[in-house]
Amino acid sequence: MRYQFLALIILTGLIYSGCSHTSELTGDNLQADESDIDYSIVYYIHADSDYLYHTPEGEPIRENSEVLDTAFKVAEEALTGEVFIYYQRPETKFLGLFPRKRSRLYHYKKSQLVNTIKYRHADKKESFLASEANLLREIRTQNRTDEHQSYFLFFGHEIPPENGKGYHHTLPDIDVNTASFASGIQNFLHSDEDRFNLVVLSTCNNGTPKMAELLMPFTDTMLASPQNLHLSHFDTEAITLLEKEPGVSSMKLARSMADQTYQRLEETIQTTITLTLYDLEEVKPYIDTLASLTSSNQTSDRFVQFQDNVDCSAINPFEADAYQQGVEMWYKPARFGRQSGRSTHSGWGCKPAAQ
């Protein structure tokens, strides 16, 4: 009888914890500092897929763990800002029955870790980033300086141009594509009038005319890779410039990130390096023309959709000079392969045409 009672208590506890979507791990209960914050940074680190890679010595590194370490360092140095770090890990069930909350939101305010929330996605078909945006709206600081800046940094695999089922290995029914990403990050903004100063897409193949067109209403600048970004990894330590040079422009900050990333990659990898910074105000006059020009060359062929981008200038009667305003490029061709001879890049990536 005693064992039955114990089993009942355990089961009840598991069911109860499984029903809740979030729970606070560490409410440090620090005295809330209600003074205004100068900037907000959102890191979204995707780990619900295959993120295995190997160091030159052959040692495995998993789950975008190095990016998480960098995010913690940045957050601990953000003396006047607020940092949200989402670490989205595969969802599993205890004993195959009780959903576990394996994803984490680390909330730093003025360099202090004020909250760690573990969460899961209750609706397996929810809109992309909906759970994360809801959490942020509940806990973010309302008091902001007039010069407040907002940054959104996404680390993951290529956000595909369409469909995107299966992007999350354990949440395959959530549609992840360029359009759902754009509408998803909009929900992180403070108000309808608010904009990001910079969106960083630490992914492959997302420096495209379509992505720029979709993000234009929500951000001033975009840092992305039109083709390959090895291991989805932009270096982001340069965010600490917000402390060292208060009021630094998002363009200058993004240039520092690109410089640092390029220098690291140039020394270590053999594949193509393509990093592009887009000043979307400068790009605005021609983006619709460019997006329609490149999309008319696109195909619904699924095989092509899963291939790497090529330089848009390679597949169109494309006047590269007409689409250079507001585009800064860090480029090094691959050491081997078919594109090893290309010495320049337009800064825009497109899916190759079907053969």
């Binding site: 295959d50 890679y53 004993l95 195959g96 029955l97 992007y167 053999q270 594949t271 691959a334 392969g337």
Partner: protein, 147 residues
């Protein structure tokens, strides 16, 4: 006591069943990455260029063959087939370049270490993932093919 045993047995069965289900959704690109990481280590441990070339050729062949086996034995969606075909095309290109086929110049002996790194960079590139579930039996077959 009998009731307790029934409860515990039920929980155990559910656990075993769910563990088996989880194994079926193992990601196959991780298997390829682990395999090719060993290839790169082997290439860089030998000084003999012919041996380096042979190791790389064998490794590409095994991965291409494993993909062929998946495509012939698993029930795949159109997207999954397209993903696998794209992955296979990349591997086939690397093999052609290694051997100077299909319009490529053959990789020079002194560049074979760098070429193995280049191929690993390509395989571990951020968009290189195949998110398909395969059966446990097929996964075991793939691993055996790669050994």
């Amino acid at each position: 006591m009998k009731t307790l045993n029934t409860i515990l047995t039920s929980i155990l069965l559910v656990f075993v069943f769910q563990t088996a289900s989880f194994a079926q959704s193992t990601n196959i690109t991780e298997t390829f990455k682990e395999h090719f990481n060993k290839t790169v280590q082997e290439v860089q441990e030998t000084d003999d260029a012919d041996e380096k070339r042979a190791i790389l050729n064998e490794s590409f062949d095994k991965m291409i063959h494993a993909i062929d086996q998946i495509e012939s034995k698993a029930s795949l969606t159109e997207d999954e087939t397209a993903m696998l075909d794209s992955y296979k095309l990349g591997l086939t290109e690397k093999k052609s370049e290694l051997n100077g086929l299909d319009g490529f110049d053959e990789i020079m002996d002194e560049d074979l270490d760098d070429f193995s790194n280049f191929s690993q960079d390509f395989i571990e590139q951020a968009n290189r993932t195949i998110t398909i579930g395969v059966t446990t039996a097929l996964l075991i077959l793939i691993i055996l093919l790669l050994l």
